[in-house]
């Protein structure tokens, strides 16, 4: 089954990306995690995302496009990236999600991909 691991990070965590002092540890942890997924042969895809402030939200209503600056919802933790993995079941996906750096600092959500 294909699952997507949604990586939720607090503003502080997201700030570590550009903070000279915390940068090496932040990127080092994600590089190691990504490498582990690749070596296990389960990584299908994924990407880090730019911060929510750079996001644009779109709604299509009554044939009209409503475009809005920023993320869909103001929440404490924001979607910072995602990994798409192919593993036999939810429990395996959860084991991998638990190893994601954000599992310890923010939260990760695991969702099965839609089969289309």
């Amino acid at each position: 089954m294909k699952y997507t691991i949604l990586v939720y990070e607090s503003p502080t965590e997201l700030g570590a990306r550009t903070d000279g002092r915390r940068q090496p540890a932040y990127w080092g942890a994600y590089r190691a995690y990504t490498q582990a997924l690749k070596e296990a042969g389960i990584m299908v895809g994924g990407s880090g995302l730019q911060p929510p402030s750079v996001g644009t939200t779109l709604r299509q209503r009554d044939g009209k496009r409503q475009v809005q600056d920023g993320p869909y919802a103001e929440t404490k933790e924001q979607l910072g990236g995602y990994y798409e993995i192919d593993v036999p079941d939810l429990d395996t996906a959860l084991d991998w999600a638990a190893r994601c750096p954000a599992a310890s600092t923010g939260a990760v959500e695991v969702r099965p991909n839609l089969v289309m």
Binding site: D89, L90, D91, T92, L94, P112
Partner: protein, 416 residues
């Protein structure tokens, strides 16, 4: 073939349903990773049996017949679904099933797997017990709904939703390995105990649906200890439930009034059940790993001592509660500890222990207010006593318990 006629067929179908429903569902659900589909197929198989058996006679192995019929349904449904959604796992299961069809006579007991699926951490905690009752025991949604005091349609929808999640989220149909087992067994035991609690609350047998839920929970408890014979907490839970169940009848006097544990007629306790509880607790102790259910069972075991020599060792009980509170500082355990301390060292000690419980936890916890009222009464604090009794009576669900408290509250306070 043995027997003919509708009655025989009905009896055979009922017997097969009672004795092997959970095994059949568990086996099919694991193969197809789909609880709802397994239940539906088995339901259809029972309908088919009631049509075929009166006509052709009851088969020698009703279980094998039902399994074969259910598998045919699943294969048909699987083919349709596979064509519709092109989902690979269903096709794989169909191929497995076709290869296995010849071994229908013997099939492995997968009920433990199913219990772990029902109590999986990704399943809504409030739905774990209802799911177990339905999938493993075959209780219908209406009966589960009445035990949980929600409308039958609501419970039905929730059960459908949670089974859909099991399938769609891809929950693993396997007994967790040794590394994960301790963490995963806890929720299974909690869900079984919750079923027992539902049955236990029904002291008067007032609600049809709850009446024998306690029995079903004990049945599940026995099942887990049979399938995982070396798990001390599973044995502890069984011992706890058996101890409580042994006193069920004694909780009511001849006129149906509530009788507290300390005043119960020990001749009305079911001693073979207490003996079984003691054996289970003893076996649990051999592992040398303490746990919440073992402590709770040990407390009940200490209470059972009164039936043997008329004495209750309240210091020992207070000590066991201390151990329980350290492992699981629930409000229930802390109130129990306060009650034991009051008996062992006097009402002030009990009241001090009650006062130490954080305020938010006790607002709607009935046993806290019942004990508080009792202790304040013993200390002769009339005004506070009446207020505490009023709250305890207000929070009591059981009419007999309400009457008992009202009678106690009306009696003049005695000095303890």
């Amino acid at each position: 073939m043995t027997g003919t006629g509708t009655d025989d067929a009905h009896r055979a179908a009922e017997l097969a349903a009672r004795s092997s429903y959970g095994r059949l569902v568990a086996y099919l659900a694991r193969r197809w990773r789909d609880v709802a589909a397994a239940e539906d197929a088995l339901g259809d198989a029972f309908v088919a049996a009631l049509a075929a058996w009166p006509r052709d006679g009851v088969p020698d192995r009703p279980e094998a017949w039902l399994l074969a019929a259910a598998r045919r349904r699943l294969l048909d449904a699987g083919r349709h679904a596979a064509v519709r959604a092109r989902t690979a796992p269903d096709l794989r299961a169909a191929v497995d099933e076709a290869q296995d069809a010849s071994t229908a006579a013997v099939f492995p007991d997968e009920r433990l797997t199913l219990l772990f699926v029902c109590a999986h951490p990704s399943i809504d905690e409030t739905m774990r017990t209802p799911l177990m009752l339905q999938a493993v025991l075959g209780l219908d949604a209406a009966r589960i709904a009445s035990a949980f005091v929600v409308p039958a349609a609501t419970m039905g929808q929730r059960l459908v939703r949670v089974k859909t999640k099991i399938h769609d989220a891809g929950i693993r149909f396997e007994v967790p390995d040794a590394r994960e087992l301790p963490a995963r067994l806890g929720p299974v035991l909690d869900a079984i105990y919750a079923a027992y609690g539902r049955g236990w609350e029904d002291v008067a047998g007032a609600e049809e649906g709850r009446a024998d839920l306690a029995q079903e929970a004990i049945w599940l408890g026995r099942l887990v200890t049979r399938l995982l014979p070396d798990e001390p907490e599973a044995l502890g839970l069984l011992a706890l439930m058996l101890h409580c169940e042994a006193r069920r009848e004694a909780r009511r006097d001849a006129s149906g009034e509530y009788v507290p544990l300390g005043s119960q007629d020990v001749a009305r306790w079911v001693w073979p059940m207490i003996d079984e509880a003691e054996r289970a607790l003893h076996a649990a102790g051999r592992a040398g790993i303490a746990g919440r259910f073992q402590f709770e069972a040990a407390i009940q075991s200490a209470h059972a001592q009164r039936g043997r020599d008329g004495r209750t060792d309240w210091e020992a009980i207070a000590l066991l509660y201390e151990g329980l509170v350290r492992l699981a500082p629930t409000v229930g355990a802390r109130v129990g500890q306060a009650a034991a301390l009051a008996e062992a060292r006097g009402a002030e000690a009990g009241l001090a222990a009650l006062d130490a419980i954080p305020g938010a936890a006790i607002a709607r916890y009935q046993p806290y207010w019942a004990l508080r009222a009792h202790l304040l009464g013993a200390l002769g604090r009339a005004g506070d006593t009446a207020e505490a009794y009023a709250r305890a009576i207000d929070l009591a669900e059981d009419p007999a318990a309400r009457r008992f408290l009202a009678a106690k509250g009306a009696a003049p306070p005695r000095r303890g």
